[in-house]
Amino acid sequence: MSFGSPYTTLPDFAYHRPKSLEEALALLKEHGDEAKVMGGGVGLIAFMKERLMSPTHVIDVKDIAELMQVEEVPGKGLRVGAAVSIAELLESGVLRKHHSVLHEALSRVADPMIRRRATLVGNLCEAIPWVDSPPALIALGASVEVAAPGGARTIPVSGFIRGPVDIDLGPTEMVTAVDIPVVNGTRSAFEKFTGGSEFSLASVAVVMTGDGRKRQPVVVYGAVNSIPVRSPEVEDAIRDGITPGSVRKASAVAGEKVECVDDVLASAVYRRHLLKVITAQVLRRMMV
């Protein structure tokens, strides 16, 4: 996977700025796979310059009130609308209580100017192997709310990302929000290594809910493969709690069991080593 565009202009398209979700869905119904939804535009505009995507209709959702919310929805969790920028979300502080892993992941996405425009939903939908929100969202058990002219559906983020720049989204569908379960007593953290790169070479999201025998660890690795990978082996290592001993075990297991790939940023061998480091790093922070 390599990015870089010979072009500096965008392909031709008609720009739409619907004022309601209904209007947006009507546009999607009419234009189907000739259309793409735009949030902050950071991902879509870059993809369009590369001609990875050449929609003839762009539907900007930033004016749709229903998509701007950040609120707890009973039965769904914390709902972050598709038009909410990463900066807004961070500044609201709402992630600090139960979702530190996501707060940490988003704090270091790109730079402050990009974060001012990029949306959480957009970052997720980019599904570039090295973006940071997917592993955090998957570890939190988040789901994507998808709306279509014919109805709506919910799909876990882990199923939503199928491959690099490949998401489970039909031509007349759009993502309206990400729902993140709110579980009291959740502890979570995120770590990444970006040495000599702007993108992560390896990242890890750990979420721990419950206590004692009800302890549920979820460990998801990002950037080391074409999509985020969950590691049941590392989860097993910390199921009985995060202790110096289990941290050491988890770190060793991460280096052995997680499938990594070679790509333009790093080799699989190096990534497997980095996983040992960042696994220990992230778990230690959760120990106290």
Binding site: S2, F3, G4, S5, P6, Y7, T8, T9, P11, R51, E104, S107, R108, F193, G195, G196, S197, E198, F199, L201, P244, V247, R248, S251, V264, L265, A266, S267, V269, Y270, H273, L274, K276, V277, A280, Q281, R284, R285, M287, V288
Partner: protein, 799 residues
């Protein structure tokens, strides 16, 4: 000279105000009425015959004016190797090779049409590795090499992929090895590097029906561009005008062939309308030239007293598909092999080799950074082997001014500089003898290292510079020079020198930001750290010429011999009788008597400089005088290496150079700081990556990482030595490239000194370093991981 002198003061470059207010205009900003926009169509295969190019679909795009292919311009151009086509003719030689240029009313139309040009290729076997390209069965990229008009000092080998072969023979290398007590051998690899100047390559060109051409381009060598256009389009030089507005960085990448001739021809074909071509960043990575990759094999012999008595090195340059400037780099890499040392027996072979990858060209350092990477590490390892301090082994081998000869047989002059003083100042600057603070964590290593370097401009013996000092009616001056300004601020330094010559405020002298081959004084090129030196000498000579004219006129008016007059504080004064005086204002446009009679006229001072002292190099042995001065210097660093990730952080850095005379300490600082950052970025991060088809896989700034503010060390010490160069302007030498040359070696030496790990490959990325440590000192890596594993308390959460 009395009064407040400008030379030696930290005068801000006069164009900074334009830059901070956004009013400096670059080629990227340049527009003429009716400008058309151009877009390149480039090859998608690395080595193939062009079977056919179909333009029908592309021509249907509304707004397309003309599309040209290689058939429309089937001639070759070049400065040194003469190997280059403007567009691919008959075959493409790398993935990214331009095969067509689309010209349209809007950029959007040009880009749209460029997607619709259909090219049919017949693939040929390709070769991507330079060592393989030397093999007998390797596909030959340039089958008609013998037809190329190359400069006589280069030695291509037709029938092979060797674009140039340089050899340096000094003493008797085998005898040297026999006399050695310790022998070191190793192989070093350097990755391709992108200049990554912020302003991508761009040209605005207009052909006129009267046979003239006007070009706006961000280039470092407008006079060379003019020459190339004239020779390839067969027009006299004075019918081609090349203009250079502000340039957003050059670093050698804009010194050689650019797109000027191509765009000029496009303008002609487009009905003599101006045409503008600006490369996108990906195109700049994939279709413009970068710095070559290098594989170096070295064998060095030392006596147990620490004297290096034999140094044998072979440089194989991965020059890519075209090597016009790289042949010169290969030569410089060769004759710079021995660096700052006096080594009695040297054998160096340097080959520029064609491969089916992006073409290559000069880059700041010009082969010296590469030869330094090998040499300085060899010395560091020899020091360790002999149980000797790093500084001591340097002292034992340093070239001695007035006594030594270089490996090219050049006598090292008394005024060349003071390498011993440089070394001493450098070790002081980094507190070499002092204790190193312990690392911040037990799995990290904190260490100091340094490396020395030396360089002079690699220019032909007849490379010249000239200058004109022109007065205006109010006695302000215009200094007209050819040397360009891409951020080095050379013209500010020159203005300071002129101001002091006449004893006026530096604001009284101005150098126009635009270069124009029709209006600027000639200079060979703005490269090689030569600007201050060569154009400085020319400038001072122009001042002398102006002064002579002024004094001749003043002598008439004052009725005194010119030899009894002097100029100071903007006034001509009689020596010893300062009340007998005339302001310059009354003389520089002729003197008007009270009755209106006028004598004299506008004063125009002119001067030129061509080095009389350098020579061609012997084709068999490389003996001769390749350069006009030698700036000695060095870099020292204190680094912190995180063993568990391989990440290196430069905590402190020091740079010391013997610049002869500090004309402007602020400009010096900007070069030393900026050059360090660029050198460090290349040392730690930068690598153009290729896939198995020779495609550049990281043509962007996320995966081709260049240093940001967070990477720049905050503790930075810059010091200088002033050993005046007798033939330099006020004793000064050049500095532009020097600040980059020894950075990588210094960092690598710090690591080697402390943990004995050899880092032979550039860049020293975290993965590269981790691999090297794991392979060479597995027990050290284990210990580090263990130490890391023992940490039980909460770590600091990064913000």
């Amino acid at each position: 000279m009395t009064g407040d002198l400008a030379v030696g003061k930290p005068v801000s470059p006069e164009d900074t105000v334009r830059k901070v207010t956004g009013t400096a205009l670059y080629t990227y900003d340049w527009d003429l009425p009716g400008t058309l926009h151009a877009k390149l169509v480039t090859s998608i295969v690395p080595h193939a015959k062009i079977v056919g190019i179909t333009l029908d679909r592309a021509k249907e795009i509304p707004g397309v004016v003309v599309i040209l292919t290689g058939k429309d311009m089937p001639f070759r151009v070049g400065m040194y190797a003469g190997d280059r086509d403007l567009l691919a003719v008959e075959k493409v030689r790398w993935a990214g090779h331009p095969v067509a240029i689309v010209v349209a009313e809007t950029l959007e139309a040009a880009e749209r049409a460029s997607e619709l040009v259909d090219v049919e290729y017949e693939n040929l076997p390709a070769v991507f590795d330079p060592v393989q390209a030397l093999g007998p069965d390797a596909p030959v990229l340039h089958e008609r090499m013998e037809e190329y008009k190359h400069a006589p000092v280069f030695y291509p080998v037709p029938g092979t992929n060797i674009a140039n072969k340089f050899r340096l023979v000094h003493g008797d290398i085998e005898k040297g090895f026999e006399e050695s007590d310790e022998i070191l051998e190793d192989e070093f690899k350097i990755s391709h590097v992108s200049h990554a100047y912020m302003e991508t390559q761009g040209v605005v060109a207009q052909a006129f029906r009267d046979g003239t051409y006007e070009i706006w381009t961000g280039c470092q060598s407008p006079f060379v561009v003019r020459q190339i256009i004239s020779e390839s389009l067969k027009v006299p030089y004075n019918k081609v005008t090349v203009r250079v507005p502000f340039v957003g960085g050059g670093f050698g990448g804009k010194a050689g062939l650019g797109w000027e001739a191509l765009v000029a021809l496009a303008s002609k074909a487009a009905g003599y309308r101006p045409v503008k071509l600006v490369l996108s960043r990906k195109e700049n990575f994939a279709s413009a030239a970068s710095r070559e990759g290098v594989v170096a094999n070295v064998k060095a012999g030392f006596t147990r007293e620490g004297k290096c008595v034999a140094y044998k090195v072979r440089f194989v340059l991965d020059a890519g598909a075209y090597a016009d400037y790289t042949v010169n780099v290969s030569r410089a890499m060769g004759y710079s092999a021995e660096g700052v040392y006096e080594i009695p027996n040297v054998y160096c072979e340097s080959l520029a080799v064609y491969t089916n990858k992006i073409p290559t060209t000069a880059m700041r350092g010009f082969g010296y950074s590469e030869s330094n990477w090998v040499l300085e590490q060899v010395f560091e390892r020899a020091a360790k082997k002999l149980g000797m301090d790093s500084a001591k082994i340097r002292r034992i081998n340093l070239l001695r001014p007035g006594e030594s000869h270089t490996a090219t047989g050049e006598r090292v002059r008394e005024d060349v500089g003071d390498p011993r003083k440089v070394l001493q100042t450098l070790t002081e600057a980094i507190d070499w003898e002092g204790k190193v603070t312990p690392p911040s964590e037990p799995w990290k290593v904190r260490a100091r290292g340094f490396a020395l370097c030396v360089k002079g401009p690699s220019q032909p013996p007849n490379a010249s510079s000239s200058a004109i000092v022109k007065f205006n009616e109010d006695s302000t001056m215009d200094l007209i020079v050819g040397t360009g300004n891409f951020g080095q601020g050379t013209t500010t330094a020159l203005s300071q020198m002129v101001a002091d010559q006449f004893g006026v405020a530096v604001g009284m002298v101005r150098v126009d930001p635009l270069r124009d081959t029709g209006k600027s004084a000639y200079t060979w090129q703005t490269v090689g750290s030569r600007g201050l030196f060569t154009d400085g000498v020319a400038t001072l000579r122009a001042c002398e010429d102006a002064k002579k004219q002024i004094l001749d006129l003043a002598s008439q008016v004052l009725r005194l011999p010119a030899s009894e007059l002097e100029i100071s504080e903007g006034t001509v004064k009689a020596q010893g009788r300062p009340w007998v005086s005339l302001p310059l204002k009354d003389l520089v446009f002729g003197y008007v008597y009270s009755n209106g009679n006028t004598v004299g006229g506008p004063v125009i001072g002119r001067g030129h400089y061509t080095s009389s002292l350098n020579s061609y190099l012997d084709p068999q042995t490389g003996q001769g005088v390749p350069t006009i001065f030698h700036t000695f210097g060095g870099t020292a660093v204190e680094v912190e290496l995180d063993l568990i990730t391989g990440a290196i952080e430069v905590a402190k850095a020091a740079q010391v150079f013997d610049v002869g005379k500090v004309i402007n300490p602020l400009l010096l600082k900007m070069q030393l700081d900026g050059g360090f950052v660029m050198g460090m970025s290349i040392a730690l991060f930068e690598k153009i990556k290729f896939d198995e088809q020779g495609w550049v896989t990281n043509p962007n700034f996320t995966s081709y990482y260049i240093a940001r503010m967070k990477d720049a060390p905050k503790e930075f010490v810059t010091r200088y030595v002033e050993t005046p160069q007798f033939d330099g302007p006020m004793g000064a030498r050049g500095i532009g490239e020097l600040s980059m040359i020894s950075v990588a070696s210094a960092i690598s030496n710090a690591i080697y000194r402390s943990i004995g790990v050899r880092l032979n490959n550039l860049p020293m990325s975290p993965e590269e370093v981790w691999s090297a440590v794991s392979a060479q000192k597995p027990e050290l890596m284990e210990k580090a991981m263990e130490a890391y594993g023992r940490v039980e308390t909460t770590m600091k959460v990064r913000p």
